[in-house]
């Protein structure tokens, strides 16, 4: 075979791979279209019977009771409280763990601790749910006597623990990707280690850390089993973490596993609610992507 044939064959092969990769990439769009299609059809039928205004601004959510109210705000409040508490727990702890592992720890210590942390993310959410309900809630009840058996605080904290390794791992990878030249430059100018970390390494790794943060928040918002088991089934419009609430996701599970006939208005609420969550997350992610692009740094 002549050299030019070999080059030709390689170019053909290259192009074939490129096509394959492009197809793969567009699979994600197909998935999104699929989700929207599945949600949209039922959501439209739902809104033929319930007004969008009542849905978005109503303060009571009682579609399963005989006196039906379809205001979705209580469910969103529930999701917001639990996710908020989860991030308050996970972000500082995760970031500090990442900083310690990438900047302070010796390689041997790091190689032991990092995998242990990763296991936290692998614990099945059912286990976390019962952990929250049967260990964390009684523990917290001793500190806060007015805490009810189902509440938002307990699953929020446990979700934070579950998300911790996501933030820690990805932030740590981002920190490690910061070239040593930047660090050494900082030391050369007389910075101590913590000064280097907080004024050079962390800002340089900011896009990766933001990505980790966004992934963590998304995970918290979308978490189902932990809240389904430990947060309760009482939708209410409140920011009080000490009382039972219901989140969007635990509501969807409740209805799917329950006895509602599947071709009814009540069943369609899960699609309407899911659609709203999907759109809300979408807007949130657009914002996040914009932020990330503004702060992304390219080395060398």
């Amino acid at each position: 075979m002549l050299a030019k044939d070999a080059v030709y064959a390689r170019r053909v092969g290259e192009y074939a791979i490129e096509v394959l990769i492009k197809l793969a990439a567009f699979s994600s769009i197909v998935i999104t279209i699929g989700i929207i299609a599945v949600l949209m059809t039922e959501t439209i039928r739902f809104f033929q019977e319930v007004s969008v205004w009542e849905f978005l601004t109503g303060r009571e959510w009682t579609p399963l009771f005989s006196n039906k109210k379809f205001g979705v705000l209580p469910l969103f409040a529930g999701t917001a409280i639990t996710s908020g508490i989860a991030m308050i727990v996970a972000l500082p702890l995760g970031l500090m763990s990442a900083i310690y592992l990438s900047e302070y720890a010796r390689e041997r210590v790091r190689s032991i601790l990092k995998p242990i942390l990763e296991i936290l993310a692998a614990v099945p959410t059912v286990v976390y749910g019962y952990f929250a309900l049967q260990l964390v809630t009684p523990l917290l009840q001793r500190l806060i006597p007015s805490l009810s058996g189902f509440n938002a605080l307990s699953p929020g904290i446990v979700m934070g623990i579950m998300i911790l390794p996501i933030i820690s791992s990805l932030s740590e990878d981002a920190l490690r990707a910061v070239p040593h030249s930047l660090r050494e430059g900082s030391y050369a100018l007389g910075a101590s280690r913590w000064q280097m970390v907080f004024s050079v390494a962390v800002p340089a790794a900011f896009s990766g850390i933001t990505s980790a943060f966004l992934l963590g928040v998304s995970r918290a918002i979308g978490e189902t089993m932990i809240v389904a088991i430990a947060a309760g089934l009482q939708p209410r419009l409140t920011l009080n973490p000490l009382v039972p609430i219901e989140t969007v996701t635990s509501y969807i599970v409740q209805v799917s596993m329950g006895d509602t006939p599947t071709d009814s208005l009540e069943y369609r609420t899960i699609f309407a609610v899911g659609m709203t969550l999907f759109l809300g997350a979408f807007m949130f992610n657009v914002l996040g992507a914009w932020l990330q692009n503004r702060f992304r740094e390219i080395y060398e």
């Binding site: 192009y15 096509v19 309900l133 009482q234 409740q254 799917s256 596993m257 006895d259 006939p261």
Partner: protein, 345 residues
Amino acid sequence: MNKQFITGAIVVIVILLGYGVMSRSDTNNDGSDAGSREKSIITVDGSSTVFPITEAVAEDFQKTDSLVNVTVGVSGTGGGFKKFCAGETHISDASRPIKSTEADACKASNIGYIELPVAYDGLAVMVHPKNTWVDSLTVTELKKIWEPGAQGKVLKWSDVRASWPNTELHLYGPGADSGTFDYFTEAIVGKEDSSRGDFTASEDDNVLVQGISNDQGALGFFGLAYYEQNKDKLKLVPVDDGKAENGAGAILPSRETVEGGTYQPLSRPIFIYVSQAAADREDVSRFVEYYLDQATKLVPQVGYITLPGNSYERARDKFKKRTVGSAFAGGSQVGVTIDHILDAR
């Protein structure tokens, strides 16, 4: 070979692969022929209430016949009917009768069903063991506690009966989407799903047990089976429905009272629905007959209550005759007798 050709070739290959995966999907899980004895699968799905019974039957049945596999799903009564009326399952477990919308869906896909009651489920009302003041509750009092108007108003035990202490009343019950909740509200408040909203709800009855057993002012309800497993943590409350015909005074739920029909209105029949097409299969019909045969033994084992008298015999006859249709007008009713169910049509 130019770029367009390559692009086209790859797209065609990917599509062919996809088609290959899709076309393997004609073999569905009810494609076995009755004649040859190959491994076959019977698919059951539906209510989580009926699940323990069907599971027990399936387990024992599979021990008698290793060539038949039975899967029992827990998609809920509604989810079960959806799959049933789409032809995806052979038998549907149901803790309530088929609703008219579901019956219409079955009619539209030409699926006839044979409605068979298999047991009674008793709903027990429970309080904390140290609750010394309650020795019975009437249906009227239960309605007063649970009706929607009680939200924010009936907050203490003394609000229910003046002679009771003014300890705070804390309510526990299954989630609003469960059949148990639907039935309780219909039986007590008079309208399905009509209830106050400020009670601790949980789909997991074990959580309710835990809640009630830790709370002196608690009052809750759930299936008798969960009470039987936790007798030491709970106190059962007899219920008086105020009708002397089916037993005067307050009645405690038990095997005898539920089966005998005196514990009213909180006992309900639970069902399996067998599709006509599936009943023609030799393995499915054997399974159903085994079910009705073993029910007297297995139903009490899992905490439910057997049907009275020769109900199982008559159910077997109904199945043999392949009598289709439902005895209910398309929804749950309180106080329907087994005779009515088995004699319809």
